[in-house]
Symmetry: C2
Subunit: 153 residues, 2 copies
Amino acid sequence: MTTGHVPYSSETLRAELNAKGCRMTPQRETILNVFKDLPEGEHLSAEDLHHRLRDLGEDISLSTIYRTVRLLARMGVLRELELAEDHKHYELNQPRPHHHHHLVCVKTNRVIEFKNDQILTISKKVADKFGFKVLDCELRIVGVSPEGQRSIF
Amino acid sequence: MTTGHVPYSSETLRAELNAKGCRMTPQRETILNVFKDLPEGEHLSAEDLHHRLRDLGEDISLSTIYRTVRLLARMGVLRELELAEDHKHYELNQPRPHHHHHLVCVKTNRVIEFKNDQILTISKKVADKFGFKVLDCELRIVGVSPEGQRSIF
DNA sequence: ATGCGTGCAAAGTCTTTGCAGCTTC
DNA sequence: GAAGCTGCAAAGACTTTGCACGCAT
């Protein structure tokens, strides 16, 4: 598996894990690598990740997947997205310039991604005011797409 | 039950429902009223709503509640929020000046609400570009609160 | 050697759905 | 009257958890 160009190595993860009394494992490394190889803008559900790992010949249990993505999201390594569906999606939590946001159609579930630098600026300012450290921010616009406007339901 | 000061009456809802071939029912009216009486910034889960209705002596089934909030959210009457927990919350989808956003702590689950007018402006611009009609927008900042920064997990 | 992590299977939580009868337009 | 709506109970989707064994530190 190639490891992409993101400056977040397995070793960095190991260090951050160890600092919390947690351990690096082959499963965690493999999962991190899948996310590192993910094209910008793609995001995976636990189930997606499971399938993808199977395709790569990696047999990691769903329990471990759920446990791992939750852990990585809490560490700020992954970004947890809640789009229009009923389950969460994850992607690598990219540094500033890659951050993107979502425009979702309530009717068709179409999701459009867009970028906007002001959002992070605003977020940092707000978080600062309350003493929070920002892990992630997402502007989620919910609306009706042109196609959706034509349907009754 | 008082009906608050929000300019969205049962009659308006009835009209919008009828326009789609749907009907006004006592259950839908009651549910709308609960949301209209909800203090700014409060949001209810389906379960919360069920309890609140019970307390008011209204016995509406959970199924109906789920069906109703989904319908109202799709109509843009309610705003569907996904905070840090594992279930959705709903609140009345207020006009511009009342819109608020959320700052969530991954560790403690604390949620802080804040307002920011730029967000709606940005959202409208983006939606416009893609031909979407905006129903709602929410900036969700995920981070670590001051309290959370002190705990290992 | 200690104790965290994994896999399995079972349980849990939240949400949706089929159906019969009642209600609204 | 026809088409929606409701309540009930059952099913469904997604996620979490207890436990025994194995592995990282």
